[in-house]
């Protein structure tokens, strides 16, 4: 299946011959995606191949290529850094052009006084953070880490991260966007559309932020976001991070107005109470359950190995049996990371006192070994830059997240035992990494000010092993069954798995949702901005009259 020569030439005329390709090997480099093997026939590591890849350099070029796609009825799939299986085309038999936006890579402006930045899609969080810090500012980096696109997280995907508790979620931090609809119209939202600048995403021009991004965004399924403005936060640290040490466990010295702690809890009740107290007291610059991604049984052994450049993963096996390490690990079994920051020494000392009081009242504590200089500086580095986020894949190259339903600490605490037991049970097959049932990781809050977050179970599997892939799929199905049995919404496993489902199956599932009118409304919106249906199903909608029998909430 290949793109028609007429369409190809039309695109080539817009971007130049060096910026479009339909070479099969090149196309495969876009079809190959993490998680594909969990959803594709025969555990294929390839999603459907795009029929061409194009690299526009400007909004004008995006718009022009989009119009060509409309003329030839070719689907559009934009990516910025291009990660996750949903970044690729969804169906084998649909002609799709992949927009690789890497040439749109400029930080257009950082407005220091008004604390926002305007960026193009291929600006990654680490770049923006490095530039913002020179001005005493910082940006929220999403949970997937600093190699991800700012535009993607703000406009088209979940925008929460370890610093969201303090800096806000990128869905809220979005101050305006420039969007090329699937029909090829350029829409500028909020104050930008009135020529008033990028300071506000809501009016006096149109605000489509809620409809186009919702909680998870359209994930490339509804046109192309070509610029956005993002709100920045204060940064009370140096203009440049003074990183020290050898790879991979770089360390960031802790300034006198900072603290980097790992806080332990004797039980999940105390853990939840500690979270509430942190919210109540407005504490925490970065607040995240990070290091536990390695699994509560192995975390200490892994990280002490990782920060020693002479060691390999083989050393984890030895360390994990060391009684001293086992004892440390027990103190960190239910733990999370907390970075404190203040504008003054007095400020940080006050925060320390408040934290002491919280720990005293909740029975929680600083995990001693993790708060020693080497681990504290490593933790500080990890959390401030989020440049080690691909340690998600450290065990075997594959990880899949289950659970992750967000709510209050009490809500999350409620599903933790089921999530742990289910994972422990599935590890009995020896086909998943046996790191303990608690590999639950997640933000302290994905909303600014606290109060709302989820924990994601880090299920590590070997993507080079068919049996391990199958075990991972089974775990996802088991997690869905556990969610159903508990009567709570499905989690990340559903989000991942349904990428491989048919439209019929997805729509049947959606039709059972309590508020299908939302999905009906979104179809009408899609009809307006994407009349040729060139976006894909990552923007959710229900076909007209699908699942006509109304759910109770829908009936009038």
């Amino acid at each position: 299946m290949e793109i028609s020569r007429d369409a190809y030439r039309a695109i080539e005329d817009i971007v130049g011959p060096d910026n479009v390709t339909d070479d099969p090997a090149f196309l495969d480099s876009y079809a190959f995606e993490w998680l594909a093997e969990l959803v594709r026939p025969n555990r294929s590591h390839y999603m459907p191949r795009p029929w061409a890849v194009v690299m526009p350099a400007s909004t004008r070029e995006v718009q022009a290529v989009t119009k060509v796609c409309n003329k030839y009825k070719i689907k559009i799939k934009p990516i910025s850094t291009g990660w996750y299986h949903w970044a690729a085309p969804m169906k084998d038999d649909e002609p799709t052009v992949q927009f690789d936006l890497r040439r749109m890579n400029r930080i257009i402006d950082i407005d220091e006084k008004n604390r926002f930045a305007i960026v193009e899609p291929y600006v990654i969080c680490a770049q923006l953070q490095a530039e913002a810090m020179k001005l005493g500012l910082n940006c929220n980096i999403i949970g997937a880490g600093s190699s991800t696109s700012v535009v993607a997280s703000a406009c088209a995907y979940f925008g929460g991260g370890p610093s969201s508790h303090y800096m806000g979620n990128n869905s809220d931090n979005l101050l305006g966007q420039e969007w090329v609809t699937p029909a090829g119209k350029v829409v500028r939202t909020g104050s930008l559309s009135s020529g008033a600048g990028w300071f506000c995403s809501e009016g006096p021009g149109p605000s489509v932020r809620g409809v186009t991004r919702g909680n998870l965004g359209s994930r490339g399924g509804l046109g192309t976001y070509t610029k956005c403005a993002i709100k920045l936060a204060d940064w009370p640290g140096p203009a440049e991070m003074e990183v020290k040490g050898r790879p991979p466990g770089y360390r960031l010295p802790i300034g006198e107005n900072f603290r980097a702690y790992t806080i332990g809890a004797p039980n999940w009740e105390a853990w939840a109470n500690c979270y509430y107290a942190i919210y109540d007291n407005g504490l925490g610059y970065i607040f995240h359950r990070q290091l536990n991604l390695a699994g509560a049984n192995l975390a200490t052994a892994l990280w002490l190995t990782y920060i020693d450049p002479t060691k390999t993963l083989n050393d984890v096996e030895t360390l994990a049996k060391d009684p001293e390490i086992i004892a440390i690990n027990e103190t960190a079994r239910i733990s999370f990371q907390l970075i404190l920051a203040a504008q003054s020494i007095d400020g940080i000392q006050l925060q320390d006192k408040i934290l002491d009081e919280i720990l005293s009242q909740t029975g929680c504590y600083r995990v001693e070994r993790y708060c020693e200089q080497d681990m504290a500086e490593f933790t500080n580095m990890y959390m401030q830059r989020l440049g080690h986020k691909h340690c998600n894949f450290i065990w075997a190259g594959g990880y899949m997240g289950s659970w992750m339903q967000a709510g209050t600490p009490d809500f999350v605490k409620g599903y933790v035992p089921t999530a742990i037991k289910g994972f422990e049970d599935d590890q009995q097959s020896h086909l998943l990494v046996e790191c303990g049932g608690d590999a639950l990781m997640g933000c302290g809050s994905t909303l600014g000010g606290g109060g709302y977050f989820g924990l994601e179970q880090f299920v590590s599997y070997d993507p080079a092993s068919d049996a391990s892939i199958d075990a991972c799929i089974k775990h996802m199905e088991d997690a869905i069954a556990d969610c159903v049995a508990q009567g709570i919404p499905l989690g990340k496993e559903q989000l991942y798995l349904q990428i491989g489902w048919t439209d019929q199956r997805i729509w049947d599932g959606m039709a059972k949702a309590p508020q299908t009118f939302v999905l009906d409304f979104q179809r009408q919106f899609k009809d307006a901005v994407d009349p040729n249906y060139l976006g894909d199903r990552n923007y959710p909608w229900l076909p007209e009259k699908w699942g006509e029998a109304p759910a109770p909430a829908q009936a009038k």
Binding site: D18, T21, D23, P24, A25, F26, D28, S29, Y30, W34, H45, Y46, T81, G82, W83, D100, R103, A126, Q127, A130, G145, S146, S147, E240, V243, R246, P247, P248, Y250, P309, T312, L313, N314, V316, E317, M381, R385, G387, H388, H390, C391, N392, F393, I394, W395, A396, G397, G398, Q427, H430, L431, V433, E434, S460, Y461, D462, P463, A464, S465, S468
Partner: protein
């Protein structure tokens, strides 16, 4: 090894794109945040380490074939290893640089080596150098220096000049300075002169492994005959070839020393006293083959095994090359010991250094790309306010000199030995 041996690496690649950037912790600005010259120039994902892993997989699975575009994506790369360092920030089970080498070797085996490399390979076959020069002239640079000819006598040390210092008249002075310093150090050393052969590293880097074996056999036999137990070089490419490749592929046990290591030692023990002030602000470029790829080779013959069910490890533990222990301090110590020299660092240094552009056969096969890569580094060096860009590899120097001249720039490009010479 073959590309099949790296199939699991490809399957375990998550397309995270770390390979495109400097290690994220080290990123200091938007402008100098990139790590991989190839993807910055070629742009499509196939020009990254991750993309090449996928290309390997796609070719192995018969999903695609080698086209001109594929050939370019495989060979238009400096093999600088920036991707390798960045990938291994979070992974212990990936060897992207080795996998990329095997992809090149496979294309070479299948007759898909770009034509542009043929002159260099022909020169290696007939004259044992990469420069297209008659091998009889190889020792001319040292004619009047009174250095021992180790084809006729023996010595503990051999100074290996390498192709570029031997034949590039503008650069040969560096080799002559090296000889002067070796004499000052009182070492029992000599040179092979016209009998010296290219190290073979450049041919190996484009996937012509056989040439490395030929060069290694020749050089090791000559050194053995001359009673040599240590080879000293001022070329980072040769250093890497002798230290890593000869050990791995030819079983070499010879000691390998780069001139900067010797200088560092001489500064430390007081045998090298630099007293002439050199009032100059300089910045230092870490050559890839001395820096992140300059780590000691550790023999390993093992297999993958699983612990904790599915965690991937190796039995015995596999040595880890991630740039943690490259030669970074020695050149900096020497520069700091030169009176008057002010060392100012670029943003991308040590394991995070941007390549000069000459490596991996890029200078020979893709000259525009090579020059662009050098230009990027020149701009970074200029941003420090330095008067001179100093390095420790003739290939880096030549590429930088050409790039500065091409851009009509003012930045001086110097070998560290030239600075030392000024200070003596």
């Amino acid at each position: 090894m073959t590309i099949q041996d790296y199939r699991a690496d490809a399957l375990r690649c998550t397309r995270c794109a770390y390979c495109k950037w400097v290690p994220l912790d080290l990123m200091k600005s938007w402008r100098f945040s990139k790590g991989c010259p190839s993807i910055e120039y070629g742009k499509f994902h196939s020009y990254s380490a991750g993309g090449r892993l996928i290309t390997s997989l796609s070719l192995m699975d018969g999903r695609s074939t080698v086209t001109d575009k594929v050939r370019d994506s495989v060979f238009m790369c400096n093999m600088c290893g920036s991707c390798d360092v960045a990938c291994k920030m979070c992974r212990y089970d990936m060897e992207p640089l080795l996998a990329m080498h095997e992809l090149r070797a496979k294309l070479v085996e299948d007759g898909d080596l770009p034509e542009a490399y043929q002159p260099m390979l022909e020169s290696l076959r007939t004259d044992y150098n990469t420069m297209g020069e008659p091998h009889e002239r190889r020792g001319d640079w040292a004619k009047d220096l009174g250095v021992k000819d180790l084809t006729k006598t023996t010595a503990k040390y051999v100074f290996h000049a390498g192709c570029r210092y031997s034949f590039d008249g503008e650069q040969s002075e560096v080799a002559r300075t090296a000889v002067a310093i070796l004499k000052k150090a009182g070492l029992d050393f000599g040179i092979m002169g016209a009998a010296e052969s290219c190290c073979g590293g450049k041919a190996f880097s484009i996937g012509v492994d056989q040439q490395l074996h030929k060069s290694a056999d020749h050089n090791l036999a000559a050194w053995k005959k001359a009673g040599v137990d240590t080879v000293i070089t001022a070329c980072a490419d040769c250093y890497y070839a002798f230290k890593r490749l000869y050990t791995q592929h030819a079983g070499s046990t010879i000691k390998v020393v780069h001139m900067v290591e010797l200088l560092d030692q001489m500064v430390a023990d007081g045998s090298l006293k630099m007293t002439n002030p050199v009032p100059m602000k300089v910045t230092y470029h870490d050559p890839c083959h001395l820096g992140r790829q300059g780590e000691d080779y550790v023999p390993w013959d093992g297999v993958e095994k699983k612990i904790f069910g599915q965690a991937v490890v190796y039995d015995p533990p596999r040595p880890r090359y991630n740039g943690a222990f490259g030669v970074y301090d020695a050149p900096r110590n020497v520069l700091k010991a030169i009176p008057g020299v002010e060392l100012v660092e670029m943003e991308r240094i040590k394991e995070g250094a941007w390549c000069c552009g000459a490596g991996g056969g890029a200078r020979e096969g893709y000259p525009k790309f090579s020059e662009w890569t050098a230009g990027e580094r020149i701009e970074e060096a200029e941003s420090t306010g330095a008067d001179a860009l100093v390095t420790a590899c003739p290939w880096c120097e030549r590429n930088f000199i050409d790039a500065v001249r091409g851009a009509k720039g003012k930045l001086e490009v110097l070998d560290i030995l030239q600075l030392v010479d000024m200070a003596l």
